[in-house]
């Protein structure tokens, strides 16, 4: 399918991943859609149902020939009472039932890290019993970042020889605000990091459109130094201006802050960027990383921490999400492969 799109000039190649550009989504669907990673069925298709319209887009782009042995459908129980989430959950369940031999729904909770973690772990371990996986497709689009990071860590620990294909759908636009309020800042389970008493703490923030969450995370950690990044290139050019504008709102009077840019549109490019950023700093700092931008850059951070487990990943739980207008539409699908861990 991707070859066909490439021949027709309907995709662009990023540094490592592939961006299936806007308007081509319909084309993907009508031309057969995305195939399994290999010649046979994927072992796992992992998706998340949320309040966003784009939550179903990637699954809708799966071709007629697409099959997976297992389907996992995650949702956050604090959003479960919403009619939009109910509808999306039902829609995704029907789609998965068409594509997967078995479908399991996982109920997690962004407000309870233990419940969220255990729900994903139980599901990932349960399907592991059947076989060792080789091909996994995950639609990262609407997982909360903590659940996505935990899911990736569990998958790559327990299915280390699997090739993982990550899908990400970029929206047409985002709402005026994405989240508000605050519940907790916490280290993410599976990424405790190591802190040495003789080293200063450096907080690396991949910021997006939520300056208040960034401020809170910096306040709570009180680092000696902050590396504050914004996404450039973004997943689509029109987001760049807002990235810059939102970052301008973040001002720290008492912190030593350095600003940088990271690719928000590619897992591997972001990973490379973070590696070069850390090269001279990691040996002399306790590093904490807060991915708060696109899911692609979040997974770029994941690969970085996988390579350097001394880094801690941290997460700021918002008071509430803008469920009515978090994002609108879907313009493009990003497809990127992550090589097996072993």
């Amino acid at each position: 399918m991707l070859k066909k799109l490439k021949e027709k000039g309907l995709i662009s190649t990023l540094k490592k991943g592939i961006k299936v550009t806007e308007k081509r989504l319909d084309f993907i669907k009508t031309e057969g859609g995305l195939s399994p990673i290999g010649k046979t069925s994927d072992d796992l298709l992992f998706v998340c149902a949320s309040f966003e319209p784009r939550t179903t887009t990637a699954t809708e782009c799966l071709g007629k020939s697409y099959r997976a042995k297992n389907g996992l459908l995650y949702y956050n129980n604090s959003e479960a009472s919403s009619d939009i989430v109910k509808t999306n959950l039902e829609k995704l369940r029907r789609l998965l039932e068409l594509k997967c031999d078995r479908v399991r729904t996982i109920e997690g909770s962004v407000n309870d890290p233990v419940k969220q973690f255990k729900a994903i772990k139980d599901a990932v371990l349960d399907i592991r019993a059947s076989n060792s996986f080789r091909a996994i497709t995950i639609d990262s689009t609407t997982f909360n970042r903590e659940a996505l990071l935990v899911a990736m860590a569990l998958i790559r620990t327990n299915h280390s020889s699997a090739m993982t294909r990550v899908l990400y759908v970029s929206p047409f636009k985002h709402g005026d605000w994405l989240s508000r309020g605050f519940r907790e800042v916490r280290s993410i389970i599976g990424f405790p990091g190591i802190q040495r008493a003789d080293q200063p703490t450096m907080l690396i923030v991949l910021s997006g459109f939520e300056p208040d969450r960034v401020t809170k995370i910096v306040e709570e950690h009180g680092p000696d130094k902050v590396l504050l990044g914004f996404g450039n290139p973004p997943t689509q050019q029109s987001f760049l201006e807002r990235n810059i504008e939102e970052q301008r709102k973040i001002v720290f009077s008492k912190q030593d802050v350095e600003r940088f840019e990271f690719p928000a549109n590619s897992i591997k490019a972001c990973h490379d960027c973070l590696e070069s950023l850390l090269k001279d700093r990691l040996p002399s700092h306790n590093v904490i990383m807060a991915p708060m931008s696109t899911k692609l850059s979040t997974l770029g951070a994941f690969l970085t921490v996988e390579a350097h487990p001394e880094i801690q990943l941290t997460y700021c739980v918002p008071g509430e999400y803008n469920t009515q207008n978090y994002s609108q539409g879907a313009t493009s699908v990003f497809v990127e492969m992550i090589s097996p861990k072993t």
Binding site: V114, R180, S187, I189, R196, T201, G222, D224, F260, G319
Partner: protein, 606 residues
């Protein structure tokens, strides 16, 4: 990557603006010594050989007090490390509790016993690691010679269970020579042990199979206490170690219980725990076995916020001394804070005149009570009433006013001063020529600072809270508005018997929701809580005093509010919902009560 400006040294920052506020953690020992004023801080009490809780709001100076006790700073204070150790009887080790450092979410996955054991090991390793880290940073090089350092390292290692540390020891031996660099080796060992623990946490979280922890575990009696005793012996200092846990409200409940358990042991000859926290964030005084640590048997406490409420003159003197130190470090020519922050001279003259008139009034009214009390009670109220009648803005400029407006929190004095100085600098050609900040300029900043507290701060608080608690913030904002308006009416009423009110008590039981609003107000420092003896006897009752930063926006007097009003919970509920109705009802009640000669407004509390 674009690189910002490198951080300036504190000394160059304070040279430009004497009121700059910097996180104490980032200050060098010399800065701490230069800035810290011992007087009125209860630092001597903190130095005592007791377990101590240091309570206070953010910005009240807790971290500064703890860091001031570190050996390097104390050596500067006393002239040398030898003199310090000769005069003082402790070695203080600063241990900041930062988010995610000790309190890791992975621990929540373990069962209760495992959490308790692993958590205690994390805490103990952290304390001992900080102790080792402080040797090269806090003491001059020859103080701990090679032989002493080697003995120290051997003394610590012997308390570990050998089998549990074999792999960490082997790892460190590959890169560091124990005999040549024993302290560096020890630091690397703690890092290796920490890696092992982190790997266990990661693996036990992520792996499907059961993961056994094969690293070290340490406890208070089998490791921390003997290690510290050994340190005393080998270093020949024979002084107790003060373990200063800063921001302990960031620790989890189980971690707080472990610390309480250590405190309950009362081993003050070897170790004293100095624990700083916001009081409402330290959630338990229970030990691990369910016992309770109690004051004064197990610990003593210092409330940093209390000075202002207990002695306004001492607090003012403290601020004057702090400001004086800062002015000396700055490039300003004036070193007298009263000259830098002058009050409004016109209003001062006016007040002098009103005082004289009030004194005459006292004579005409057959001298009720003491003359000075009468003038204090009515003079300021008459000033406010005069200004209102003549449509003149009340000035809050001047050092004394700014001290009162800070309500006992040093940072709340420094912050508005920093802003006004920073802004004023931009209006003059040569900032070094500044001798004072004009009263009118001060007033503009003070008013904005007050207005921000009333109008903008609630929105910022909401950002700190989950959405379901936002209605409490709205109720709190309404309550503040209701009280501000009521106190304004009283102050500007020439007939009011007790005009200068700024605090309230609650009569009867407080419903849970109202109590939540009051607690939120305490947490975000809209109120300070004091207690007073109830007239009926049998204990003390709660008394809420508003933050004086609210005075300019409500046109109230910040200089003293000994009187208080009593509110029923029903009236308080109305105050949280409808300011106009609340003010109307409360004033009506007051008129009725005063008409009947009742003591509606309570007098001084104790």
């Amino acid at each position: 990557m674009s690189t910002g400006c490198p951080p300036k040294a504190f000394v160059s920052k304070i040279a430009l603006n004497p009121f700059i506020v910097e996180s104490p953690e980032k200050l060098q020992a010399k800065d701490l010594k230069d800035l810290f004023v011992e007087k009125y801080t209860q630092i001597e009490f903190l130095k005592e050989r007791k377990h101590t809780f240091l309570w206070g709001s953010r910005g009240s100076g807790k971290s500064m007090m703890l860091r001031y006790l570190e050996p390097q700073c104390q050596a500067l204070v006393h002239g040398s490390v030898e003199k310090f150790l000769e005069k003082e009887n402790f070695i203080a080790v600063y241990c900041p509790c930062k988010e995610g450092q000790i309190n890791k979410t992975d621990l929540r996955l373990l069962n209760e016993d495992a959490t308790s054991i692993i958590t205690e090991h994390i805490l103990i390793s952290y304390v001992v690691d900080q102790l080792i880290a402080c040797i090269p940073t806090q003491f001059p090089e020859p103080f701990f010679d090679a032989e002493t350092s080697l003995c120290l390292a051997e003394g610590i290692m012997k308390f570990f269970d050998r089998a549990s540390v074999v792999s960490s020891v082997e790892d460190v031996n590959q890169t560091t020579d124990f005999r040549k660099e024993p302290l560096v080796w020890l630091r690397e060992f703690f890092a290796a042990d920490s890696r092992k623990l982190a790997k266990f946490l990661r693996d036990s979280s992520l792996s499907g199979s059961h993961v056994k922890y094969e690293g070290a575990t340490t406890g208070y009696h089998d490791f921390l206490l003997p290690c510290l005793k050994n340190f005393q012996k080998i270093s020949k200092l024979n002084l107790p170690i003060y373990v200063m846990l800063d921001d302990a409200d960031r620790l989890s409940k189980i971690q707080q219980r472990i610390i309480n358990t250590w405190i309950a042991n009362r081993d003050q000859a070897t170790v004293c725990f100095k624990i700083s926290a916001q009081q409402n964030g330290y959630s338990t005084f229970l030990t691990r076995s369910g016992g309770l640590i109690e004051q004064p048997h197990d610990y003593s406490e210092i409330d940093v916020d209390e000075l202002y409420t207990s002695s306004k003159s001492d607090y003012e003197e403290k601020i004057r001394l702090i400001a004086q130190r800062r002015l000396e470090l700055s490039t300003l020519k004036t070193k007298n804070i009263l000259e830098v922050l002058p009050e409004n001279p016109v209003e001062h003259k006016l007040y002098e005149r009103i005082r004289d008139e009030t004194a005459s009034e006292w004579d005409q009214k057959n001298r009720p009570g003491r003359k000075e009390d009468y003038i204090t009670r009515y003079g300021k109220a008459r000033l406010f009433q005069y200004l209102k009648a003549h449509k003149t803005r009340k000035s809050y400029a001047g050092f004394h006013n700014l001290v009162h407006l800070s309500s006992g929190v040093v940072r709340d004095f420094l912050e508005p001063c920093y802003i006004m100085f920073d802004k004023y600098r931009t209006t003059v050609k040569d900032p070094s020529s500044i001798l004072s900040i004009p009263p009118g300029f001060q007033d503009d900043i003070i008013f904005k600072y007050s207005e921000e507290f009333l109008l903008d701060r609630p929105d910022r608080i909401k950002k700190d809270l989950p959405v379901e608690r936002w209605s409490l913030v709205d109720k709190l904002a309404t309550l503040i508005e209701s009280l501000g308006k009521l106190f304004y009416e009283r102050l500007h009423d020439p007939e009011a018997r007790e005009a200068r009110l700024f605090s309230f008590t609650v009569r009867g039981n407080t419903p849970a929701e109202i109590q939540e609003v009051l607690n939120l107000g305490l947490e975000y420092r809209y109120f300070q809580r004091r207690t007073y003896s109830s007239k009926e006897g049998g204990g003390r009752e709660k008394w809420y005093v508003l933050h004086r930063r609210l005075c300019p926006v409500f046109k109230l007097d910040p200089t003293g509010f000994e009187g208080r009003i009593s509110l029923t919970s029903d009236l308080l509920k109305i105050a949280c919902e409808n300011p106009a109705q609340f003010v109307r009802l409360r004033l009506k009640h007051a008129e009725e009560a005063e008409g009947k000669g009742l003591d509606f407004y309570l007098e001084k509390g104790d």
